[in-house]
């Protein structure tokens, strides 16, 4: 679980996860095309995400496809957030959204 938190601590890696959330199953080339990071940096970040099991890969022909893997995030949610007052967190999150919508 340490690997998951370390992997999530970097904004570039969180952005990569967001990109996969928007479109799952992308190749390295597809991910690079939409980011300002160098190919080497993207490749390095993807390796860290894969080691943490936040990203899963499958080979299709010569291509390697990257998938967001929600299983470890789910395990964190169950073992940590669920234990510590999920409903109160949700209320805070709803409040934040309500205030932001009013400001927007």
């Amino acid at each position: 679980m340490n690997a998951v938190f370390k992997a999530l601590a970097d904004p570039s890696r969180r952005e990569l996860l967001d990109r996969l959330y928007a479109e799952n199953g992308q190749t390295l080339n597809e991910l690079c095309a939409r980011l300002v990071m160098t190919r080497q940096a993207v490749s390095k970040h993807l390796a860290i995400l894969e080691d943490a099991n936040l990203v899963a890969t499958v080979k299709r022909g010569r291509e390697k496809l990257h998938y967001l893997n929600p299983v470890p995030i789910h395990e964190i949610a169950e073992r940590w957030i669920g234990k510590y007052e999920r409903h109160r967190l949700r209320a805070l999150s709803d409040l934040k959204r309500g205030l932001e919508e009013r400001d927007g």
Binding site: N24, G25, N53, V58, Y67, P70, V71, I73, E78
Partner: protein
């Protein structure tokens, strides 16, 4: 070949044999998979039935059965007409021993275009797989994958699918 829609990976501290039993034996699936009992003879092409109590949730047919390595079946959701009218999709489990743990890769693909089943299962699989891991490592499944939670989820996925059905 089309790319898979879902690829989920989890590492479980167990053996390929125990994981295989958990995936293929209905007495085990009931304990972590929302109380759902899975039945099949596992002969090639044999039917696979997923029941909760008397109600049939899913049906399918065996596509691959390679003990302790690879299991695949077709996947048709029977809980509502909005899902029943789609052709079956495909679920595959691949098992690889990794030292003292086992890597489980689940893929779900071959969906109909604009599939309602796709929306319904996208939140379900991480819960089932997290619960499977808990069941094999700690001895019990998770509350998110209990029969009570599954009944609530069932109502919600039907409502969501109907809301977006054209």
């Amino acid at each position: 070949m089309d790319k898979p829609v879902f690829v989920y990976v989890t590492y479980i501290a167990t053996t390929p044999e125990k994981l295989w039993q958990a995936l293929t034996d209905g007495a085990f699936t009931q304990q972590y998979w929302a109380g759902i009992r899975l039945d099949s003879t596992w002969a090639p092409g044999a039917s696979v039935t997923f029941r909760m109590g008397d109600e049939i949730y899913n049906t399918g047919a065996v596509l691959a059965y390679e003990p302790h390595r690879r299991l695949s079946y077709s996947w048709k959701v029977e809980i509502h007409e909005v899902f029943r009218r789609e052709r079956p999709s495909r679920v595959t489990f691949e098992i690889e021993p990794m030292g003292s743990e086992v890597k489980l890769t689940m893929t779900h693909d071959d969906f109909d275009p604009d599939s309602k089943v796709l929306g319904a299962v996208s939140n379900g699989w991480p819960m089932v797989l997290a619960s499977l891991k808990s069941f094999l490592e700690i001895g019990h499944g998770l509350a998110v994958s209990s029969p009570e939670a599954a009944k609530r989820t069932k109502e919600k996925v039907i409502a969501d699918a109907q809301a977006t059905a054209s």
